[in-house]
């Protein structure tokens, strides 16, 4: 398992290759990349600044992967999340899950993202033409996470 919170950009191809090649029993890798959009809630976005809770963030991400492991069999998982000030089209987050077959990898990857969105202590602040604003949490993100609770 690998969890990284970093200012620097990441090379998704290299990260996925490292995960994929770590075990010859791996037959599938599912991954998600989130990137900065140039528009949100009807306003153009100039920059996006990500704040986090050092110490808790890393623990929360490890706990999310551990929770995914109790539900699906997979070989390994990776989360990289950036912090600091980003521009539109910059990568924000990479989640990758490697396992024997695609089904468990797809499900675990989506589960990890849904929990990351609602439980990992990151906060986004946008710069728009009218000034800075904190991004509000979305009810749809809560709903996405709750869906997994009902599937227990």
């Amino acid at each position: 398992m690998s969890v990284k919170v970093q200012v620097e950009d990441f090379d998704a191809g290299a990260e996925i290759a490292r995960l994929r090649l770590s075990d010859p029993g791996i037959g599938a890798v599912a991954c998600f990349i989130g990137q900065v959009r140039d528009v949100n809630d009807g306003a153009p976005v100039g920059t996006l600044t990500l704040e986090h809770y050092p110490g808790m963030t890393e623990k929360a991400l490890v706990a999310i992967i551990d929770q995914a492991r109790t539900r699906w069999n997979f070989h390994d998982a990776l989360i990289i999340h950036r912090i600091g000030t980003l521009q539109p089209k910059d990568q924000i987050v990479l989640v990758a899950v490697a396992g024997s077959h695609r089904g468990e990898c797809f499900a675990a990857c989506e589960f990890i993202m849904d929990y990351l969105k609602t439980e990992a202590p990151f906060w986004k602040k946008e710069l728009t033409p009218t000034g800075e604003r904190w991004v509000d949490a979305r009810e749809s993100d809560d709903a996405a996470r709750k869906r997994w609770e009902s599937e227990l």
Partner: protein, 87 residues
Amino acid sequence: MSRPVRILYFARLRETLGASAEEAALPDEVMDIAGLMWWLAARGGVWQEEFDGCRQIRAAVNQELVQNAAFVNAGDEVAFFPPVTGG
């Protein structure tokens, strides 16, 4: 006897309260997160606006998300923040 705790504030709270961290001595009657929020709201002004229960605030004790009924013990690291928006 009062209990020493460290309180951290993040994101919007850090900005509106003008504080990222403080050492506080909690009186005996402040038992849990809900009680601590009332205690902070009693400071008035922006503290009241943030902690009077109208705004959604999440809490962590020793770096784990908790509900408002969670106890706060001497030496704990408590954090308050708005709902998270990463990813």
